[in-house]
């Protein structure tokens, strides 16, 4: 790769990356930060970092995979920068908005007949094929406080481990569990009421 670049400098034109992989990288970033401007900035940082480390690109993996890997590192940096080093705020740990789900009259803190989870009669792949579902998913994730959405994103989309995420977001293990529980409680309820109950009707 390096030799090729030195012999034919005109062949190394990073602007073609924008045409070839721009949409792909932007979509990866947007799915994680759900904000156009931030996603564009991350794509720009990614391509600039790619120019700097182009010499180390061995060509054993595809250009797209290589750029995608750089982008994921930039996402982690983005989350690290954006998370304050303070404890979780009351708004972040607040679970009282979900208390009504467990307001059964006979059994304390159990699901009620009305709020108990329904059967989601759809495979994940099927759901992802529906534009409306993707829009609801994006909207539901967007309702979460940033730090909680970030923890959930790193865990579920990028498969990072707990210790790594605690380090990136500056939180303790207990708070990490709390954040994921809050994220799952919210996303599940949101998908249930804004998508599945409407589709099943």
């Amino acid at each position: 790769m390096q030799a090729q670049t030195a012999e034919n400098p005109q062949e190394f034109d990073p602007t073609v990356w924008v045409d070839r992989h721009g949409d792909y990288l932007f979509a990866l970033a947007f799915a994680r930060v759900r904000e156009c401007q931030a996603a564009e900035e991350i794509v720009e940082e990614t391509l600039l970092a790619a120019i700097r480390s182009f010499d180390s690109f061995a060509g054993t993996i595809s250009e797209r995979t290589w750029l995608g890997g750089i982008l994921k590192d930039r996402i982690i940096d983005h989350f690290r920068r954006n998370c304050q080093k303070n404890d979780l705020t009351a708004a972040e740990t607040e679970m009282s908005a979900y208390q009504y789900l467990f307001a059964d009259e006979t059994w304390k803190d159990h699901w009620t007949q009305e709020t108990m989870p329904s059967e989601w009669r759809m495979a994940p792949e099927q759901a992802l094929e529906k534009m409306e579902f993707c829009a609801v998913l994006e909207h539901c994730l967007g309702e979460l406080p940033v730090r909680i959405a970030s923890a959930f994103t790193l865990r579920e989309m990028d498969g990072l481990g707990g210790a790594e995420i605690c380090d990136i977001l500056h939180v303790s293990k207990d708070n990490y569990w709390l954040m994921l529980h809050r994220a799952r409680t919210h996303l599940r309820r949101c998908l249930e009421y804004d998508w599945f109950r409407k589709v099943n009707d």
């Binding site: 799915a31 564009e40 720009e44 120019i51 789900l101 989601w120 994940p124 992802l128 998908l191």
Partner: protein
């Protein structure tokens, strides 16, 4: 007969063991693979008696799979958000000027 025993057992579990609200937190934590033996036992026993929490677990697994598979969809170009043409231009300009800068530094250094 078995129905009655099962019913009695369920009530006992709901009375003595943690509530659905607490179990949902345990279920979430179990996905991080961090439960003690006691917690595991409590969760399994509750799940045996409670269809609502069984569904809760299935739904969490569904969500994990959806988020994990989203990248494959993006790979195939089936995900809606795209780079606007203005943003594309802006990016190209940024790359061009950065390439010039690198060239300049290169020439300057040697």
């Amino acid at each position: 007969m078995f129905g009655k025993i099962k019913n009695g057992f369920n009530k006992l579990v709901w009375k003595l063991l943690p509530s659905c609200k607490d179990i949902t937190a345990l279920i979430s934590r179990s996905l991080e693979d961090d439960l003690s033996l006691r917690e595991k036992l409590v969760m399994k026993t509750h799940l045996y008696t409670c269809i609502a929490c069984q569904r809760y677990l299935t739904q969490l697994e569904f969500m994990s799979e959806v988020l994990e598979k989203q990248d494959q969809k993006i790979e195939k170009g089936e995900y809606a958000p795209r780079l606007s043409s203005e943003a594309s231009e802006r990016l190209k300009n940024a790359l061009k000027s950065s390439k010039l800068l690198i060239l300049f530094v290169f020439v300057y250094c040697y």
